[in-house]
């Protein structure tokens, strides 16, 4: 009662009651308006708080806002930079959002991303000499397999051993980065990389190309497709329905004969595959090799994206663009306002906290949720009459 899971969401109940009452669209509109208005207000409040913070740090607030806008969306060039950063975020956010449908809080995107990147590099080296299509396909499959195994393992530990998945996924992030650094600075190091230990490059020919007409690579399309597939999977298939059931009440799901363990492990593996794919795309399109530049916190920002999007697979898309924009504006803030590079992290932290706190506002505005109180009792009394 004190600390419910993030999935305690009354929306299905509202829908069910009002369908009986015949006012479905009113309820949908109300819920829809609320689920957009509350986060937008939250984002506005966060930016206001951030403004107070930078003002205290001695910067000109309006100028900071303007530079952020300029750095994120101000020109075609900066918008493409934003999209470049949004691409991995869409996939790492899925790493948190998919398990969240089952009531799990998984923060392991960072680890799955770096290991997926390693897997992709190994695949590229193994398939050296094949056509670039084969290499890219191999890289994608390897990255998904590695990432999927990594997060799937966390799901298995959770469901089979009862190990808290939040803590284990955070610990495994550190372990994954340790393994990554060990391999990149040791056995897999390219002797030609002197200052910055890196693996052997995957080769220019095998790089992931740009979307025609833009300087943004195809990874963005992977992310969009990934989110759409996740939406269809979770909202339109029996697997998704079973996952929702487990998220709502694992014991009831078990009693109704669902293979709970298997569904949890599969959902976590899919989530990890998404994050692993983010690593592959960063290697294939951005860096061309695996090195420490991959560890820039896309996994952790992805967690924030997932929570901001309220774990909705399609909501991830606009939110990743927003967070990608915040990340893209960081460099400009450093140059023009002389603010430290951690400024972006502060804004992200404020956003995260305000959005979580705003959850408590849900259902408190009577205009937005008229059907709950009014139809609950008649609807509860209706079934006997109908039967």
């Amino acid at each position: 009662m004190t600390a419910g899971s993030p999935q305690t969401n009354p929306t299905p109940a509202i829908g069910a009651h009002t369908r009986a009452a015949g006012g479905e669209w009113v309820a949908r509109l109300a819920v829809g308006t609320e689920s957009i208005l509350v986060p937008v207000a939250g984002i506005a409040v966060s930016f206001a708080l951030f403004g107070v913070f930078v003002a205290l740090a001695g910067a000109n607030v309006l100028d900071v806002y303007y530079q952020m806008y300029r750095g994120a969306f101000g020109s075609w060039f900066s918008f493409q930079n934003t999209l470049l950063r949004a691409a991995p975020l869409t996939l790492t956010a899925l790493c948190t959002a998919l398990p969240a449908q089952l009531g799990l809080v998984i923060i392991g995107g960072e680890g799955a991303l770096v290991l997926g990147a390693l897997g992709a590099v190994v695949a590229a080296h193994t398939l050296e000499g094949s056509s670039s299509w084969a290499v890219l396909l191999g890289m994608g499959v390897a990255a998904c397999a590695v990432g999927g195994t990594w997060i799937g393992m966390q799901g298995a530990l959770r469901t089979l051993r009862g190990v808290n998945e939040t803590i284990s996924s955070l610990l495994l992030n550190y372990i994954a980065i340790g393994i990554f650094k060990h391999l990149v600075e040791g056995p897999m190091r390219d002797p030609a990389s002197l200052n910055k230990p890196s693996t052997r490059p995957i080769g220019e020919a095998n790089a992931l190309g740009s979307i025609p007409g833009m300087d943004v690579h195809w990874g963005l399309v992977y992310g969009v497709i990934g989110c759409m597939v996740a939406y269809v999977l979770m909202r339109r298939t029996t697997f998704g329905f079973a996952a929702k059931m487990i998220g709502g009440n694992p014991r009831a799901a078990l009693l109704s004969g669902l293979p709970v363990h298997r569904i949890i492990i599969v959902a976590c593996a899919l989530a990890g595959a998404a994050a692993g794919l983010a690593g592959m795309e960063e290697v294939a399109a951005v860096h061309g090799t695996a090195n420490a530049s991959l560890i820039v916190g896309y996994g952790y920002t992805g967690v924030l994206v997932a929570f901001l999007a309220r774990q909705h697979p399609l909501g991830i898309l606009p939110v990743s663009v927003l967070l990608g924009g915040i990340g893209a504006s960081g460099g400009l803030l450093q140059r023009t306002e002389h603010l430290p590079d951690a400024t972006v992290n502060v804004l992200q932290g404020i956003l995260f906290i305000v959005i979580l706190a705003s959850e408590t506002l849900r259902g408190r505005f009577n205009i937005l949720t008229p059907p709950i109180q009014k139809t609950q009792r008649p609807a509860a009394a209706a079934p006997p009459a109908a039967a």
Binding site: M1, T2, A3, G4, S5, P6, T8, A57, V105, I107, L157, T159, L160, R161, G162, V163, N164, T166, I167, S168, L170, L171, L172, Y174, I175, G178, I179, K181, H182, E185, G186, Y300, V303, L304, F307, L339, P340, D341, A342, T343, V344, N345, V346, L347, Q348, G349, I350, F352, I353, L356, A357, E359, T360, R362
Partner: protein
Amino acid sequence: MTETPLGFWGLPLALAGGALRVSAPYLFVSLGECLTEKSGRINLGQEGTLIMGAMSGYGVSYLSGSAWLGVLAAGCVGVVFGGLHAWLCSSRRVNDVAVGIALMLLGIGLAFFLGKPLIQPTAPRLSAIELGSWSHFAPVRAALEINALLLWGVAAAFAMRFFFQRTRWGLLVRIVGEDADAARAMGYDANRVRFLATAAGGFFAGVGGSFLSLYYPGSWSEGLSSGQGLMAVALVIFARWDPVRCLWASLLFGGAGAIGPALQSIGIIGGYNLYATAPYVFTLVIMVATSSARRTIAGQPAELTVAR
């Protein structure tokens, strides 16, 4: 420490010395987390609190010239962070695990932002107590150097056990952690108790952070803490919510954290990055070993969502 005349015996010595040095942050954070979790909430933001404590402790020590004032300031910052966590979580529908993650990210961001000017200057550090002055061997003396803060932590562990077992307030914290409704029925405000417990827990985590920046490693940098606050949360589960067991577990974790540097000190350098993951692997193995899918862990406060 590089030239050791003890040969292979340098390894256990370096491990023991490392355990004494490295364990204090674990001890303080786990004591704070123990107090918080006994009241029925989990605060994953302790990692952020630890880093904020390290930064502010170093900053105040640098500005005031007194390291102990820095420790106090770090504790106060911890109270603010703990209080923020408790205040946010007291609202309906706000999830304590998620707020903890958010506070972790905010704490790290804030500390890096405010700590930028602190990377260069040197602040006064906490002094060491030499337990090994009887020995002629430099490595023995180095290993047995401890800090007064660690002794305070040891005392706090026993005091906290006394608090839980023998005092009225300790009982109240336990009641709230076991059954908030029962506490409410008795006329106590569960949210208020949790607020105080989480804020006090934050104090401990902040002090633990000041140990990092003011004693060992003894300077402020952005790579100062890498998950110690987080491991301390796992450590509380391992210690089954008993402050004195937290003390033993901290020493054990400190030893695991010292494996990498200890191996380096006797000349094994390859695979440093792998040895550095030893504490995480160790924590994970312990979590897997102590958890069970079928029953809750003995001693777990019933209101806690951590191991559902």
